[in-house]
Symmetry: D2
């Protein structure tokens, strides 16, 4: 498993280059970022050299295609998807991720129809570049009633959806926060096969009743109540060898980026310690 970062929880990062260098400096092995942006900033050769010299892997990038609204919006993102997939392949990034909101103002069944068809096409395009599509189920209870109609939020439904989408390269983006807010246990993780996990996120939660935990109020790994050692140990046991990236969606802390990187490193050191990795 690789220790990874997203920009969420790192404060102001002025460039992807700084992001990559800082990640390496604080002992991380992977960052989630947009590979096309990186190539546009540095050129492909320098981008590859930067990744190699720092030992940083690009863990995942966001699916920027709008698969949640109209057909027009969906189509409008496909050309860019091909371009970012090309860039990702050039930089050896193998995962692209998107999240599933637990409720929707659209009627649920027709929206599921459209979403299934659209995500299949995204997955199939990504597949031509050797890239997997990770689907992130979102457990935060308050989001289940944020919009008019319930959609899906459980790991089990997401696994089922992967079968309905029916592309070989679709897996989970497994986030410890959503695992926790869904009331799942390590036993649920131990039933997974490594190939079912495209990417993982790690975050911690406040000591509140689960229904009160807000999606945008997460803690740094090791600062909260989630059994992150159990989470990580389970991933190791089933043979997951990918990235585990922090994504601390939370109000600003007032700390500098360097302070937040140090804090993140301390959190990872703490929760990874029992693994003896």
């Amino acid at each position: 498993m690789l220790r990874g970062l997203t920009t969420a929880g790192l404060g102001e990062i002025t460039s992807n280059e700084e992001y990559i260098r800082s990640a390496a400096e604080f002992g991380f092995q992977a960052v989630d970022l947009n590979p096309l942006e990186l190539i546009e900033e540095l050129g492909q050769e320098k981008a590859l050299a930067l990744l190699e010299s720092t030992g940083i892997t690009i863990g995942s990038f966001s699916l920027d295609v709008d698969w949640r609204s109209t057909e027009e919006n969906f189509r409008a993102g496909l050309e860019q998807l091909v371009r970012v997939a090309e860039a990702a392949a050039a930089l050896n990034c193998k995962a692209c991720c998107t999240y599933i909101l637990p409720s929707t103002d659209l009627p649920a069944a027709p929206f599921m129809i459209a979403a299934t068809r659209r995500l299949r096409l995204c997955a199939d395009i990504l597949g031509a570049y050797g890239i997997s599509l990770g689907l992130e189920f979102v457990g935060s209870n308050h989001l289940r009633t944020q919009w008019a109609n319930p959609f899906i939020w459980t790991m089990e439904d997401t696994l089922e959806w992967m079968e309905a989408i029916n592309s070989r390269n679709v897996g989970l983006l497994l986030d410890s926060y959503h695992w926790y807010t869904n009331g799942l246990t390590t036993d649920d993780l131990l039933k997974l096969k490594p190939e079912q996990i495209t990417h993982a996120h790690i975050n911690d939660a406040k000591d509140l009743p689960i229904p009160e935990l807000l999606d945008g109020d997460r803690l740094y790994p090791g600062e909260g109540v989630i059994d992150l050692a159990g989470f990580l140990e389970s991933l190791v046991k089933i043979g997951y060898k990918g990235v585990v990236a922090q994504e601390v969606l939370a109000p600003g802390s007032g700390q500098t980026s360097q302070e937040l990187l140090a804090r993140s490193k301390a959190g990872f050191d703490k929760v990874f310690a029992p693994l003896g990795l």
Copy 2:
């Protein structure tokens, strides 16, 4: 287009053989029935001979696989599906149909996931035998709130679903009653391509406000208010060459089977007259 029957609206029919002979006698060209049952009753050779001598085609058979409840129930029907598909192929029947209830007690999005996956497998098995799967959208307004959660009932959503299922041999079962209760017009039919229609049903409706029309209270073709001539003309115009079968789901009429066949024939004569077929 072939004039077809289902047993709905025909009263007591004592055997498939009687059903086929009566259909022919009253000028029909197709019947919906279970081809495996027919082979079990008569043997394949006699079944084929009966169809040939009467000039009757088997229009469609019902998908008996339970795709609406548990995975166990779904699996339990697959062996029989293979057997009936074999029988259908042996008797040159090319269509298998199922209907979509407009609401469900299951959560809508997860049910759509399961239904998509299950119907794809059914279609793929049928496809090995050259059989198409027809999906019948159900317009009857009262069924949209019959169960806890809305599912789908429009032609447009059903067409979209066909794309999400993604098998080449899935089309619509287009029923005039559901076309009417969805408030659709001939313009909506004229947008269809013939290959999008696997099978058609023809029924008439009482002269009531659409929201009050009950699914189990239909009229014989020509006895109600639906523009069935327009329905049929549109199908001819787009090039549909398949079966149009009556399916009068209604309380018992007290008439004999022979009387009901004669009544059905009269209805077809009336609504087909403007076509000059």
Copy 3:
């Protein structure tokens, strides 16, 4: 059915605008051309206005993705495919076509694997824009041994391939020259369903033994020995309503473009005459 043109057989056409105007002038209803090119030349608004004012439909455009060589070459064409599909959708063009060479220097089975996967992705991308992919089988006998290993050239194998590709929007590009050089008859056409035909080409053949007919030595419709009236009548009978476009791959004739358009018109008039369309 619409009378259509390709540029093959028309001599020097200086622009797409001239091509469209000339087609209309000589009574044609459709042209095959690259819709992205047309938009780049005229802008989308003027392109649409030109098509509308001339009554010309864009019949089909060529699949420019290289699905026949390396994975790198294949990927390199995907971004452009999205762009041309967008342009096609904007101009109401519904078909994209590619041809299948009957032999290959690659080992046949592995090449079939790659081609199946690649054409599926092309079809799926096109499908997002409502465009079908037409596969043209090539009957010209000499091409079956032009390269080291036989591939496929029959209509039957191509129909089977459509099932293996398994996208809903893949059909045949049916060319009379390949129908003839495969030794097919009108009976073979009458077995087709209209949805199996994405696009049609019409060409004539010299009065030579079939094995001697060269792919690049075709005649204008009506100038050779193919039963084109039978070809067209069969398409009408099964309900095909799409474009039939001339594609005279032949050595230069020395005639001007205007002369060739007149000659093409005369050929169409001759072979369409028995249809009474």
Copy 4:
């Protein structure tokens, strides 16, 4: 990884019950057998009890559907496929395997089309029962010219084929004999992900030039020249946790079944020893 057996190389085994008990007695953890046959012999309850009491897992069963000849033969096996899949699911067997002959008397490209479509349907049926389909590439050089046309025999082509088949539950059956006769190395194994391997076979080869090694003349593990420790170590490294089953296709040895089981155990002890498992 589980130590597994097939009946190949075990001489006369009189029943599945004896096979299972003997396997356990000699320290094996899995056997390849037909789960439907086992249920027909013992009943489901006793079959499950036997597996549980002996600690034996059913590693895999053979795909008995004939996907290599006519459509009729293919269809004729589908009902039985559903029945054996049901039995397999009832006995917790998760893999079904078939082998790919490296040459064929059918034209290669059309056969690849049919095989792709047929194996997809088999995989999809198996998938409904949580079972994966393993495809065994066959390296034995002499079989590449045994029939008229070359088909596929490399691991790389088989991996590509899995993508073309496009079902989520298709993987490799990786046999050390075919790995060796293809001239592959441990580096080739280290590039695999565990999910790409549905099942593994282990066999040894005589000390002959690779082109002279016959498919039906294999040795027991540890008795030949294949680097089986390297083979197994690579599987462990990439995280493969499934069965590795012996399948010694060879002329009769004259030894009793008990002697052959002891010989097999000795072979496994030898080649597994370096793993320290």
